[in-house]
Amino acid sequence: MAHTLIAYVEDKPGVLNRVASLFRRRAFNIVSLTVGRTEQAGVSRMTIVVDTDEPGARRAEANLYKLVNVLRVDDVTNKPAVVRELVLVKVGVTAEQRTAVLQLVNVFRARVVDISAEAMITEITGSQDKVESFIETMRAFHVISVARTGLIAMVRGGAKISANPPLVAAQLPENGAAEDTSELSMSV
């Protein structure tokens, strides 16, 4: 299943390469990866969606922590979080189809951001389900191009998240058979 990890990393050259290389080397399948700066100077935030099981996600997390430039990792898969993706879809439309597309755009609360004689660019932001069903719906027309940003995620609530946590989440057993070790954590 897809796991969504947020990694806070030092904003230094080559860090993206280190993270991507780690996932490749350990044979994890990246669904999407986004990077951007944060409110803190020198700290970038990566949202990594990786297709793996629960122990795989724990292993990915532990391996991320081994990278010297990784400050903090949160698995927000099962946390209340806002998860969003932005998608641009360019559809080729005839004059007759235009109204139909505009109606669908309204239903999805998407937007038209560019329009020309034979095509229009639509923009949608939302959860993965929403954007995917929008793309699927647009396929009824002539989809020329799709551009997706990949997911970004943010945990709900007002708690401040330090990029350099005192506690590191630790390993869970590979399946639920063993007793719960969720309290196992390690302090620096």
């Binding site: 532990a62 430039n69 350099n164 390993q171 869970l172 057993p173 590979e174 390690m186 302090s187 620096v188």
Partner: protein, 579 residues
């Protein structure tokens, strides 16, 4: 404050880190650094190939516990280091590799001898750096040494552009802690987890310690022995754990795994609690994971949290330095009597306790296992033995009994042929007063034998045992067992090793009869210079017992009762290649 060139800074930093010897090879992009070297007291060993430099740094680190240092130029110099860096990575050995890089303005232009070395070594270093500014050199080198030797140790590469070496800046050596906010070498376990571990430990009936390399890296011998003696827990070791606890200790069963003792592997399969101390459940020690120790609860202590539940699911995982974790556990470990369990393991030893090969009739011919066992006897187990990879390596692990830490130096995880000779040179520099033996096969020895010239130039004394069976023996063994004896590309014609040694200005010997062994080995040891001994041994001997790759751990191939080698007693002089 005085200004230094970047090149001077490198040597200044190495001096401040306590480095006494570096292993390297000069070239264009590292030339400024070599030019500055003459002003410093650090001894430079000129190697014959940069791979040798990394293995020497590795051998130095394994023998001394200190950080080993290797230096090379950009491009081919740096890429030649790759095998040695990967070797150190797999076995968690602290080395720092310094490479020259083309000028910062030329980076990315495919300049002469330009290679993206930080890119190439990304997956095989613990961390690496590209330094393009002179003023960054001291901080980066300090970080490199700290990262290499802290936490789970490993190789760190520092790639420094030529203009950064040539530039000048104020030399700032910050005395305080380093600013590495994402680096957590010092993880600790929560008390509740220790409590859960103690419950399992104090209620176990058939406990067994699996002792790995972590015992040596963490210096946890005393704690492991206190634990084992108090709770009466027998100990099995991994290949890299050998020497971590004395071979002669009553609770030490010996090596586990693919070529471990059969009764050790059986004990693992029958145990009700496995205590994995600084080992990582490598496929060479577990065999088939589905059937591995299914009766046992498992407690895993490792400094690297990503090792927990990687291969084997454990009941309790304790993260931290092994010595620290054991010190926290020990107050709660109760005295126990597991004599029934220990007696049972003893009964499984039975006639196996004397290994198969030791009961071979003495035909006067050489068996590799005899050679190694005799070297152990003659050196009274006090030598540092550096092995290569293959059959001889397993025989060494089986027949040389190591009572002391850091006396077996071998490439475990990566299985790097060609490791032994250069690593032994490094070990000798780490321990100049110790007797150092190289035990290598004829295959691996030929991969890095150019370093004989380094030995001659540095005037160091090694004893080099080539276990020469005219085959790539371990591969031949697999072909015999699993590929119907189709010996594809394993018969091996080597040089005359005696003449080869002489060509390098060293002494060579050849031993073909066991009767000659004692006298000639004593003679070689007494010689003040390095002696290369060509031990011509049984060609088609195999390492027993053996767990085939991926098989159940207690399903071992044993030495056939009527061994062909014993029956034919073929004369070594009549051996022909590929016969």
């Amino acid at each position: 404050m005085t200004k230094l060139t970047g090149a001077q800074m490198i040597w200044e930093c190495l001096t401040l880190e306590g480095v006494e010897v570096v292993f390297g090879y000069p070239g264009g992009a590292i030339l400024p650094t070599y030019d500055a070297m003459l002003g410093y007291k650090i001894h430079h060993v000129l190697v014959r190939h940069e791979q040798g430099a990394t293995h020497m740094a590795d051998g130095y680190a394994r023998a001394s516990g200190k950080v080993g240092v290797a230096i090379a130029t950009s491009g081919p110099g740096a890429t030649n280091m790759v095998t040695g860096i990967a070797t150190a990575m797999m076995d968690s050995v602290p080395i720092v590799c310094i490479t020259g890089q083309v000028g910062s303005k030329a980076i990315g232009s495919d300049a002469f001898q330009e290679t993206d070395v930080t890119g190439v070594t990304l997956p095989i270093t613990k961390h690496n750096y590209l330094v393009t500014r002179t003023e960054d050199i001291p901080r980066v080198i300090k970080e490199a040494f700290f990262i290499a030797r802290s936490g789970r140790q490993g190789p760190v590469l520092v790639d420094i552009t030529k203009d950064a070496q040539q530039g000048s800046a104020e030399f700032v050596w910050e005395p305080g802690p380093l600013r590495l906010p994402g680096y957590r070498p010092d993880l600790r376990t929560l008390p509740s987890e220790l409590e859960r571990a103690l419950q399992l430990i104090n209620n176990a009936e058939r406990p067994l310690i699996l002792a790995g390399h972590g015992i040596i890296s963490a210096g946890a011998r005393a704690q492991v022995l206190e634990f084992a003696e108090r709770a009466q827990v027998p100990i099995a070791t991994t290949l890299l754990g050998i020497g971590g606890i004395p071979a002669s200790h009553g609770l030490n069963l010996g090596m586990m795994g693919m070529h471990g003792e059969a009764y050790v592997n059986s004990a693992i399969q029958q145990a009700d609690l496995l205590l994995a101390f600084g080992m990582r459940f490598d496929d060479r020690v577990t065999g088939n994971l589905k059937t591995y120790a299914v009766n046992a609860r498992k407690i895993h202590i490792d400094i690297d949290s990503s090792e927990l539940n990687k291969n084997v699911r454990v009941d309790v995982g304790l993260v931290g330095d092994l010595r620290n974790v054991l010190q926290e556990l020990l107050p709660g470990v109760q005295s126990a009597d597991h004599s029934a369990w220990l007696d049972h393991i003893d009964s499984m030893k039975g006639d196996v306790a004397v290994r198969d090969i030791q009961s071979l009739p003495d035909t006067g011919h050489l068996y590799a296992a005899h050679v190694i066992n005799d070297i152990w006897r003659i050196t009274k187990g006090n030598a540092i033995v550096v092995t290569d990879v293959g059959q001889h390596q397993m025989w060494e692990a089986q027949y040389y009994k190591h009572d002391h830490e850091r006396t077996l130096i071998t490439s475990g995880g990566l299985g790097t042929m060609g490791f032994a000779l250069p690593a032994a040179i490094g070990a000798k520099f780490a321990c100049p007063d110790r007797e150092v033996w190289v035990v290598a096969g004829d295959g691996g020895f030929q991969m890095t034998m150019a370093e004989l010239a380094t030995i001659k130039q540095e005037k160091i004394k090694l004893n080099i045992a080539i276990i020469n069976n005219f085959y790539l023996g371990m591969v031949r063994q697999w072909q015999e067992f699993f590929y119907e004896k189709r010996y594809a590309a394993t018969p091996l014609l080597g040089p005359d090793f005696v003449k080869l040694a002489e060509a390098f200005g060293l002494r060579g010997m050849r031993i073909q009869q066991r009767a000659e062994l004692q006298g000639l080995v004593e003679e070689a040891r007494a010689d003040s210079g390095t002696v290369v001994i060509d031990f011509q041994v049984e060609q088609e001997d195999s390492v027993f017992p053996m767990v085939p790759a991926g098989a159940d751990l207690d399903k071992m191939i044993r030495r056939p009762a009527r061994d062909v080698l014993i029956e034919t007693g073929a004369d070594p002089d009549e051996w022909e290649l590929g016969a």
